[in-house]
């Protein structure tokens, strides 16, 4: 009878299945992230550990012989080899020149181009196009334009009575030239970020400020600029990190010269590893660069936390 059936089934305690909803979701979750996780392990963590390992050896690629040397490569870089500090100095100069110039220009362009108007889309495209242009093409064109007397830049300067330097052949001018040409190439990216941030500022703030008697400069300084702070911080950090990692541009424009005047950290690592085959030393340099970039990232995160609390 149906009645007894029911009592029997309720009397038997149903066993909880192993695959609970919680477990099931956990398994699915791991499955979903596994491709990225495996990629991360193989292509990031693996090489990173390998590089740490290499940095503790003296390994010449030609002789195929590697010997454990402890921290010798690090002391070499940080204490004994004057090239290292020269390179760090160059990297700092590059960053210190590029970051403010890039950000100021990006902000200026963004303010000019954030509102719809005649030609706005055209100019946004013009300033963004270099970002997606091949670095090689960009460098070749600029090398051509920046040639000594025959270069278009110097021809134009001559037109207004200025005797331009041989841009890429004099150390200080070469640094200046790689900074400026890099800024022109990359400024469009930060411009877009700033345009997005400016468009997210509600119109009401500006109108309220205008009604209260603020002029355009006061509105910018006292209302818009503070509201852009989170964006400014992010842009500053990613641009700084990017400028510490710059390689292709230097490689193509100056090859680190003249007189090592544009020899920056990433290029120095390349040179040590693949031109002089000092793999161990280059690995130590790579770790030092990793630490610098990591430190910048941590500073960014801390600043952001402080900013949002």
């Amino acid at each position: 009878m149906a009645v007894t059936d029911t009592t029997e089934t309720t009397a038997r305690k149903p066993r909880a299945p192993w695959l609970t909803l919680r477990r099931r979701e956990a398994i699915e979750g791991w499955l979903f992230v596994s491709p990225t996780l495996i990629g991360f392990l193989i292509f990031f963590l693996g090489p990173l550990i390998a590089v740490v390992f290499y940095s503790l050896t003296e390994w010449n690629l030609l002789s195929q012989k590697s010997t454990y040397v402890g921290l010798a490569n690090y002391t070499d870089a940080l204490r004994d080899n004057p090239d290292f500090w020269h390179v760090i100095r160059n990297s700092v100069i590059f960053a210190a020149g590029l970051v403010p110039l890039n950000m100021a220009l990006a902000l200026g362009l963004a303010v000019a181009l954030c509102r719809p108007g005649k030609g706005v889309v055209f100019f946004r495209t013009v300033f963004f196009a270099p970002v997606i242009t091949s670095a090689v093409a960009w460098a070749i064109v600029w090398k051509f334009l920046l040639q000594g007397e025959a270069g278009a830049v110097n021809q134009m300067l001559a037109g207004i009575g200025i005797d331009g330097p041989n841009w890429l052949r004099e150390p200080n001018w070469a640094m200046f030239a790689v900074i400026v040409t890099r800024v022109i190439k990359m400024v469009g990216l930060n411009m877009i970020l700033y345009i997005a941030a400016l468009q997210a500022v509600p119109r009401d703030y500006e109108e309220a400020a205008r009604l209260e008697g603020a002029n355009s400069w006061q509105i910018f300084r006292m209302v818009t600029w503070p509201l852009l702070a989170p964006t400014t911080l992010i842009i500053m950090v990613i641009t700084t990190i990017g400028s510490f990692k710059v390689f292709d541009h230097i490689y193509l424009m100056t090859g680190g010269g003249p007189e090592n005047g544009t020899l920056v950290l990433a290029y120095y690592i390349y040179e040590q590893a693949f031109e002089f085959f000092n793999i161990g030393y280059a690995a130590a340099l790579a770790i030092i660069m990793f630490v610098i970039v990591l430190a910048l990232t941590v500073v960014q995160l801390l600043l952001r936390q402080k900013g949002s609390s």
Partner: protein, 345 residues
């Protein structure tokens, strides 16, 4: 001298005319409310007064001076935005003092004026907080406080209460009314909430499609609406409109002659259930909505139109019942001009 005068004011965005000739005189100290359906141009008109939109045509006078081409900041107006527009990176004190700071008023004077305004609005304890640390009602008060510190000739409000919940809205409505009594400034207030309009206004301006439909005290608009649009816009639930022919005989007999082709407006709250021989209309009850104090009856008339009536008391008839409906003839509204308008709607 009137405090604010609009003379045939117009505004177009490109080819679209948004304000099509608005004229209005606002007396010193008057509380004027703009109402109208969404998109009728209330905000645009207010922003034109503020100087946030330029004037396409006509004259705009504030305090007797033509202001068409005067900068927003120099018009002597302050505006309270629907979004409050409080600067998120500044404290309440800095928000309220912003206008004085940009005008280079000495810090001590700013502090004194901010403290005064804060006292009026009971914001003293909140002065060092940031806007995100305030409730909606408190933000609203800060926004008003910022306007007070600007000590304008005219206060402008654009739907200031629409982001608040119903209860707070009633409370802030009373506070704004009290503020107006206390400060005595001219205030222009935009809302689409007709209860807000009725309770706050000295005079209401009903707008439609960029034109003024009627200007008058709340009582004037309720008791003698100039046309069916105003009649249906003011009052809730909205006024019933029936063809004059359906009620002409009975109303004429009761002393209210209905001209040929006119519409008759009957407010739901004026209709009553009456014995059949006193009825002006009859119909069948289709739905009744009990709201506690009274019941809203939906009555289907012979021609299929549905009439709303408010029935007081708990003895509402059951759906399906045949009802006889009457009205005090003095309370019926007769509109001769609007038949075409009704048919078009």
């Amino acid at each position: 001298m009137s405090s604010l005068t609009l003379r045939n004011l117009t505004k177009s965005f490109g080819k679209t005319d948004v304000i099509r000739g608005v004229s209005l005189d606002v007396e010193e100290g008057e509380f004027v409310v703009f109402v109208g359906p969404s998109g009728c141009g209330k905000s645009t008109l207010l922003r034109m007064i503020a100087g946030l939109e330029d004037v396409s045509g006509g004259d705009l006078m504030i305090g007797g001076q033509r202001m068409n081409d005067v900068q927003a900041a120099k018009r002597g107006v302050a505006m309270v935005f629907q979004s409050y527009a409080l600067y998120p990176h500044l404290t309440v004190r800095q928000n309220m003092g912003f206008g004085l700071k940009v005008r280079k008023v000495p810090a001590a004077d700013i502090a004194r004026q901010v403290d005064e305004a804060a006292a009026v609005l009971k914001l003293d304890a909140l002065l060092d907080r940031y806007p995100r640390e305030l409730s909606g009602g408190q933000r609203q008060r800060v926004a008003i406080g910022r306007a007070i510190v600007a000590s304008p000739e005219v206060f402008l409000f654009d739907e200031p209460l629409s982001n608040l919940d119903a209860e707070l809205r009633v409370h802030m409505r009373a506070e704004i009314a009290a503020l107006h009594r206390r400060l005595g400034n001219t205030m222009v207030y935009v809302t689409h909430d007709q209860i807000e309009a009725m309770t706050l206004a000295d005079r209401i301006v009903v707008l439609r499609d960029g034109r003024v439909e009627q200007v008058g005290t709340p009582r004037e608009l309720y008791e003698s609406p100039a046309n069916t649009f105003v009649a249906q816009f003011i009052g809730s639930p909205k006024m019933n409109l029936v063809d004059g022919g359906a009620v002409a005989d009975r109303l004429s007999a009761l002393g209210r002659p209905v001209p040929e082709g006119a519409l008759v407006g009957l407010r739901p709250e004026h209709l009553q259930l009456v014995p059949a021989d006193q009825a002006i209309l009859g119909g069948r009850l289709v739905t009744s909505e009990y709201t506690g104090a009274d019941t809203l009856l939906h009555v289907e008339l012979a021609d299929g139109e549905v009439l709303l009536m408010v029935h007081q008391g708990s003895d509402a008839p059951e759906p399906g019942a045949d009802l006889s409906i009457g009205i005090d003839p003095a309370l019926a509204h007769i509109f001769e001009q609007d038949v075409a308008a009704k048919n078009a709607a």
